[in-house]
């Protein structure tokens, strides 16, 4: 019954996401009617070269980047929430975001180019989680230890970001750092997209293949052990893959919060807790959400709205509604 509902939800959502993808390609600030953009996209001869270049070199990579980032953040959030048996967790709790922020800030303060920003923020995001995992492993990889370690490491890297901002050149570097931290996909090009897209495909294939086992990781260690499942190495592997997905994403997009927290809840409410359906649902829903938000970010106002601000403005009310619903339903049980 539930699995049928899950399949139907996906059949509704996948075409919707595809339509959204197309819409995102044909709308924008460059003054052209959507129908002409469509014609240009599908290679009609009378379309101008400028328009084709705009769509293929700017909008297409940006929209694909939005889809990848949205899918990665949502799937990683869903998986981490299950793994920590805590519905209020996302990638930030492991220090991924603050590690990435420090890497990017460092690269920008050293006047590095786009590749340096992406590379350093990816590296420091992995490093931050590596530190958390090392702390966790020393204390038995218990979820609580990992969360406490994650909060500590996050605080550490936030302090380091503050330090970099403090010493950065206030006229050139500081605005660049601040702007990066607000998040956005404006800098997406094919070169930055390729590593992200490759990691996204590999990560999502892994989580899809592994999705049934993810259910077992929501059990306590003792309970999983009684089912013959040794959770410690699995937990580290899953955290590792989720981390790479988030790090690859935020190193391209900057800080985009809330997607990883809110989208999994909506997906779970739609198709249930079983990861076989939750993972694909979160992927499609996350991709569609971020394509939609990014389209708004670059078209709603004459100048671009930073994506991190937009996701926050929409994400926080969604989160509050969700939280109140959760509290209310918990209250009803007692």
């Amino acid at each position: 019954m539930t699995s049928e509902r899950g399949r139907r939800a996906l059949w509704i959502l996948i075409p919707a996401a595809a339509v959204l993808f197309l819409v995102s390609l044909v709308v924008g600030r460059y003054g052209v009617r959507p129908i002409e953009a469509l014609r240009a996209l599908f290679g009609s001869a009378d379309a101008s070269d400028v328009l084709r270049a705009l769509i293929l070199r700017v909008r297409l990579p940006r929209t694909i980047a939005a889809a990848c980032v949205g899918a990665n953040l949502a799937v990683s959030g869903a998986v981490l929430q299950g793994l920590f048996r805590n519905p209020l967790i996302d990638g930030r709790v492991l220090g991924v975001s603050s590690g990435a922020a420090f890497g990017a800030a460092l690269a920008l303060s050293l006047a590095g180019g786009a590749a340096a920003v992406q590379g350093l923020s990816f590296a420091f995001a992995l490093g931050a989680v590596g530190l958390v995992a090392w702390i966790g492993w020393r204390f038995g990889a218990a979820p609580l230890v990992l969360v406490v370690g994650g909060i500590a490491v996050s605080a550490l890297f936030e302090a380091l970001v503050g330090l970099v901002k403090y010493v950065a050149d206030p006229l050139s570097q500081l605005p660049a750092i601040t702007y990066w931290l607000l998040g956005g996909l404006g800098a997406s090009r094919w070169e930055t997209l390729l590593p992200l897209a490759a990691i996204t495909v590999l990560g999502l294939v892994f989580f899809t293949l592994f999705s049934w086992r993810l259910n077992l990781l929501t059990l306590s260690d003792a309970e999983a052990a009684s089912l013959g499942v040794h959770v410690r190495p699995l937990r580290i592997v899953v955290i590792g893959v989720a981390t790479v997905l988030i790090a690859a994403s935020v190193s391209v997009s900057g800080m985009i919060g809330w997607i990883g927290l809110v989208v999994p809840h909506v997906a779970r409410a739609w198709v249930g807790a079983a990861h076989e359906r939750l993972v694909p649902m979160a992927a499609v829903l996350g991709a569609a959400t971020l394509i939609g938000l990014d389209t708004i970010a670059r078209t709603a106002l004459p100048s671009e709205i930073p994506l991190g601000i937009l996701t926050g403005l929409i994400g926080i009310p969604a989160f509050l509604l969700l939280f109140l619903r959760l509290v209310r339903s918990r209250g009803a049980e007692r």
Binding site: M1, T2, G82, R85, N86, P87, L209, F210, S211, W212, R213, N215, L216, T218, L219, S220, A222, E223, A225, S226, L227, G228, V229, H230, R268, G272, A273, A274, E276
Partner: protein
């Protein structure tokens, strides 16, 4: 299948044994109750039998094979654990929760198939809750959750199920539902080790009883042999009398003056 513990001791901290030289043997079709006061070692014994703890001395064997020589998956196909109730974080359906019992039969990237789902349905039917299969595990009653966990053990293919205080927090009817179900499954060849705080239930449902006092076996035998007024006094540190009802059931009543004397 025969599950045997011989001279099992266990210490969480070296030198401080919480279980001392305990022996137990369980054949197909048998229900053993483990009784004893809080902290007497009941749950520790269960952990030793499930393989979660390795005894500091003594051995646990399954059909004459030492438990430590079985892989975790082999173990899980023979011995199932029904843990104490806890609130799960996510609302898996009853069928999905029982399906997790197929883990020791499935490879790392495998997903359960039609056969596994059929096994789940048979397990749910065996404990009488097939009608609940699509319901959320978080929304059913405590007694029903306990039955789901038993069904999960059956889906594992486990002949022997270890139940940690399955009757705690349940009203008399639901208590009978779970323990009566265990009796019924025992008649089909399963075996059960059940920890409990209720000697009355041991008289009703057990073939044999192990009474633990400070980690030692104070009595081991049929309920009538193991549970006497003397052994109960030693176990719980208070006086009891054992009464026999019209149905033949025995009840353990503390020798204290009741609050009301009407």
């Amino acid at each position: 299948m025969r599950l045997t513990a011989v001279g099992v001791s266990y210490a969480y901290v070296p030198g401080e044994e919480v279980l001392r030289d305990v022996s137990l043997s369980l054949a197909d079709g048998e229900v053993v109750f483990v009784l004893g006061s809080n902290g007497s070692g009941k749950t520790t014994l269960l952990h030793c039998l499930s393989g979660m703890h390795q005894p500091t001395s003594g051995t646990v064997t399954v059909d004459d094979r030492p438990l430590v020589q079985l892989t975790p998956r082999e173990r899980a196909r023979r011995i199932g654990v029904v843990p104490q109730l806890h609130e799960p974080a996510f609302a898996f359906t009853v069928a999905e929760a029982v399906l997790m019992g197929r883990a020791p039969h499935l490879g790392l990237f495998a997903r359960p198939g039609r056969d596994d789902r059929a096994i789940v349905d048979r397990a749910l039917a065996a404990v009488g809750i097939l009608a609940l299969r699509g319901r959320a595990y978080t929304e059913i009653s405590g007694g029903e959750q306990q039955l789901v966990l038993v069904a999960r053990g059956l889906a594992q293919g486990a002949r022997c199920l270890l139940m940690d205080e399955p009757a705690a927090h349940l009203d008399p009817r639901h208590r009978h539902e779970i323990l009566g179900t265990a009796r019924g499954l025992a008649a089909d060849g399963h075996s059960f080790v059940v920890t409990s705080h209720q000697p009355d239930n041991a008289f009703l449902y057990a073939d044999s009883v192990l009474l633990l006092v400070d980690g030692r076996a104070q009595g081991y035998g049929t309920p009538g042999e193991a549970l006497t007024e003397e052994s109960l006094r030693a176990a719980y540190g208070m006086e009891f009398e054992i009464l026999r009802g019209e149905s033949g059931a025995r009840a353990v009543v503390p020798r204290i003056r009741p609050a009301s004397s009407d």
